[in-house]
Amino acid sequence: MNCIVIDDEKMTREIIRSMSEMHPDVTVLEDFDSPVAAFGYLTKNSADIDFIFLDIHLPEFTGFEFLNTLTTPPPVILISNDPEKALKAFEYEDIVDYLLKPIEFSRFAKSITKMKNYLNKNASNSETSDSKNESNQLFVNVNKRLIKIGFDDIEFIKANGDYVDINTSEKKYLVHSTMINVENKLPSSMFFKSHRSYIINLSKIIDIEDNTALIGKNVIPISQAKKADLMEKLNRL
């Protein structure tokens, strides 16, 4: 899972970076000392960001006010040294957990597990609704036309700024969406997020070498943290 950290204290940002390096499931993409600095990055890279570590007490406005400015906020782990602010956190459905400073590693690890479960649950809810509709396809908006793409036809999806490239063997579709939205629409039994910028169709993998997978003529990166999970998903001898 990829995240960003927003906290005005450099010490806290460094501690979260350090704990993330010790944890196999989380990568800090970037950290910011103010929500204003984070806003631009978040807008441009929303496809790559799975969640945010967000401080409540920030220079320009509070973490809660920052969340209110986002139209589709990513899930959040709040950080603060005010236990009494935890109650307010329950008003926000995207706040998954609340970490008190100074952050203990065992508590940090629990938060990461909670976040992982939250993201998996969202993905599987989407998958369940897909199966209820007996859907095996995706409709995408390309140049004001809704185009049907069968899951079987998709080779891989690549993040491309505020867009995603949906690559089939025949064609590439540039669609205005985020990686997390696309990931939630695809069955996890069939697709795998191999890297913060790539989702691959497992059945299209030709071979895997080191930290790359060959799909068609494309070499797709596999992040170190994801490799073990990918290996588990493959039907290996």
Binding site: D8, E9, K10, M11, T12, E14, I15, S18, M19, M22, H57, P59, N81, K101, P102, F105
Partner: protein, 106 residues
């Protein structure tokens, strides 16, 4: 005042370079607290003073300075009510002076 750095040691996971860099961050951040506080005080900016004191609180918690943290919590409450006691102001100065002195000599 006795600084307990076991939290920073634990977070560093035995990595001495990381421990040192966290210590430097702590020194740097603490060295500007008084200056920042005074700037907001001269502007009668209670929100700014409150934020500075709030940030200091987490540093005291990191170094397990419990008594000092109790004082800072009370001061934070007072500033939240737009009150700055003369004694609090002076005690903050003494606390930061001592803290900066101790942490520089680690």
């Amino acid at each position: 005042m006795k600084l307990d750095l076991s939290y920073l040691e634990e977070v560093s996971g035995g990595d001495q370079d990381l421990f040192q860099s966290l210590l430097v961050i702590m020194q740097d951040e603490l060295s500007t607290v008084w200056e920042e506080f005074e700037l907001y005080r001269t502007q009668t900016d209670y929100e700014g003073m409150h934020r500075v004191v709030h940030t200091l609180k987490s540093k005291l918690d990191i170094m397990k300075l419990e008594n000092e943290a109790v004082f800072i919590r009370q001061m934070e409450l007072n500033l939240g009510n737009e009150t700055l006691e003369i004694d609090d102001h002076e005690n903050l100065r003494i606390l930061l002076e001592e803290l900066n002195d101790k942490i520089k000599n680690i």
